[in-house]
Amino acid sequence: MYRKEKSIQIKSSASALYNNLSVLPIADKNLTYFTVVHGNVVNMVSASGDGLNFSHRQLQSKEGSLAVSSSLVTQASWCALPSRVLLVLTSQKGIQMYESDGSIMVYWHALDNPETPTAQAVFARGIAAARGHYICVGTSSGSILVFDIPNKGTSITLSEVLGEHRDPITDIASEMSGNRVTSLSVVFTHLTP
């Protein structure tokens, strides 16, 4: 069914997370980008088509636009929109968006952290591009943040907050045509409606 090809060594091991491998093919440069999350760091490697040349980069989880954070990254995923590709990182503190090669951070969104510690952890998780110029990101409260992405530049805005789920979002996926977005959270099996 599958044939194993050349292996690519990542700088450190993969953390136990959902969907912890994101891939971006760059057809016109015959390159492929890979990201794997390790704790509070995202390991990025770009591999040449022949599998012989590699270039590594590491991205850190942040708090605000400058500070390096110790909070865990929950997911890293590329969002391919018609006009641009962004690399999105979700963590326990918020959401970071980078240019596709991870070189510049273009946007930071902080999660609301409750004053007193709750019985539930707080984090963002679940990333998908949708309908041409939106990026959807899920949260541990079950809400989905919908960001409006301009063709270029950093003026990204939070457009909408969807509140259909009651449980932490596990992941989000969208149809190729971008018209339909599916979000999923793992639901209580004993809960009576």
């Binding site: 450190s12 953390s15 110790s70 909070s71 865990l72 510690p117 709750t118 952890a121 449980d167 793992v186």
Partner: protein, 387 residues
């Protein structure tokens, strides 16, 4: 300890109880291997279990909270190991902790489903109850905690258990200490990574892989295809019990040191440790801004850890996690060199943390008893050991 593992806030009780269980298995085996008189051995086990399941301590533990840092957790276990008349020197304590953590890491990794970590916990609890079955008052304490575990965890959804599993695995990430029994049984490779089996029963509630089914828009099956999974899987026979008593079915979390063949444990090679250069505590450039909060938490927790002060001249003794005293000394020497290097690399922040930790520990003094040396033949060493 820079990275704060905050994902699930219900992980700490499971982490503590399972590590405690592994610790008791190892201590029990070593007490017998060193021919410690059974009344003394029993006292040690009873004292540690009593301290572990102390009501106030358990109350603190079960509050929804983040996991402790590796350093803080190690401090708690150092304290727990010395809750009785038994003493461990630094090298033996290090080795004990390595064995404990790698064993539980192995169990978490090999759990077929995330919820099975609860069965692992119950295996440890069942064994702990066996250790103190002759002491009704301690048994009562343990049963109380058992009931609390059932109450809190039985109804958690699968997603919450997956989060707990991920939280635990992230806590154990980058620990690759080689354990000789694992190497010998070929469940761990020489690079410290565990072997995932490709045969055996699939998790409860899942099917043996090999079938692809395709459904249309109306949820009707329209096509089937088969494939070879490359593994040798079978259906599970039955689910383990989540009740106070019952067959857990899962073997993970049972006492791997109490096997049919006790002669195995007398081989010195089993207890050979590899003082790996993989560090216990990953150094990182980012400072730890939550150290103060952690220290307060630790102080509260330690307050619940009552340490019995035996009256009179009950002689203490030293437990050795190595097969010979010479080996223990040698390991202590080489490990202390490594530690000296680590101390030199500590940043100012960490130094402050260490000072505060020392202050907190100072509030809970370890009793020092007068020494009584006995003949080597009795194998009972009473030593003045400083924590």
């Amino acid at each position: 300890e820079p990275v704060r593992v905050k994902m699930s806030v219900r992980t700490l009780p499971l982490l503590f109880i399972n590590l405690g269980g592994e610790m008791l298995y190892i201590l029990d085996q070593r007490l017998r291997a060193q021919n410690i008189p059974s009344d003394k051995a029993k006292k040690v086990m009873n004292d540690i279990i009593t301290t572990m399941f102390n009501k106030k301590f358990m109350e603190e533990l079960f509050k929804p909270q983040e996991l402790y840092s590796k350093k803080a957790l190690r401090t708690v276990f150092d304290r727990l190991a010395h809750a009785s008349i038994m003493r461990l020197n630094q090298a033996s304590m290090d080795k004990l902790y390595d064995l404990m953590t790698m064993a539980f890491k192995y169990q978490v990794l090999l759990c077929p489903r995330p919820k099975d970590v609860l069965l692992v916990t119950f295996n440890h609890m069942d064994a702990i109850k066996e250790f103190i079955r002759d002491s009704p008052s301690i048994l009562n304490q343990v049963d109380e905690t058992f009931r609390q575990l059932i109450e809190i965890y039985s109804c958690l959804p699968a997603g919450e258990f997956q989060l707990i599993r991920q939280t635990l695995l992230i806590f154990f990430q980058d620990m690759h200490i080689r354990v000789s029994i694992f190497l010998k049984d070929k469940v761990q490779n020489s690079n410290g990574r565990f072997v995932l089996p490709t045969s055996g029963p699939v998790p409860w509630g899942t099917e043996v892989p090999g079938l692809i089914r395709m459904f249309n828009y109306n949820r009707e099956e329209v096509k089937r295809a088969e494939f070879l999974s490359g593994g040798d899987y079978i259906s599970p026979l039955r689910e383990g019990s989540f009740d106070l008593y019952g067959d857990r079915v899962l073997k993970l979390g049972t006492n791997m040191y109490a096997e049919e063949n006790p002669a195995r444990w007398r081989q010195s090679s089993i207890w050979k440790s590899v003082c790996a250069s993989d560090s216990h505590y990953k150094e990182n450039a980012a400072p730890n801004p939550l150290a103060k909060e952690e220290l307060n938490l630790l102080a509260r927790l330690m307050g619940g850890l009552e340490v019995k002060k035996p009256l009179g001249s009950e002689p203490g003794f030293r437990l050795n996690l190595f097969s010979t005293n010479e080996e223990e000394e040698r390991t202590a020497k080489s490990c202390s060199e490594e530690k000296a290097m680590k101390i030199l690399n500590l940043k100012a922040d960490d130094q402050q943390v260490n000072e505060e930790l020392a202050r907190i520990l100072g509030e809970f003094p370890v009793e020092n008893r007068a020494n009584q040396s006995t003949s080597k033949g009795d194998d009972l060493l009473a030593m003045m050991d400083e924590l």
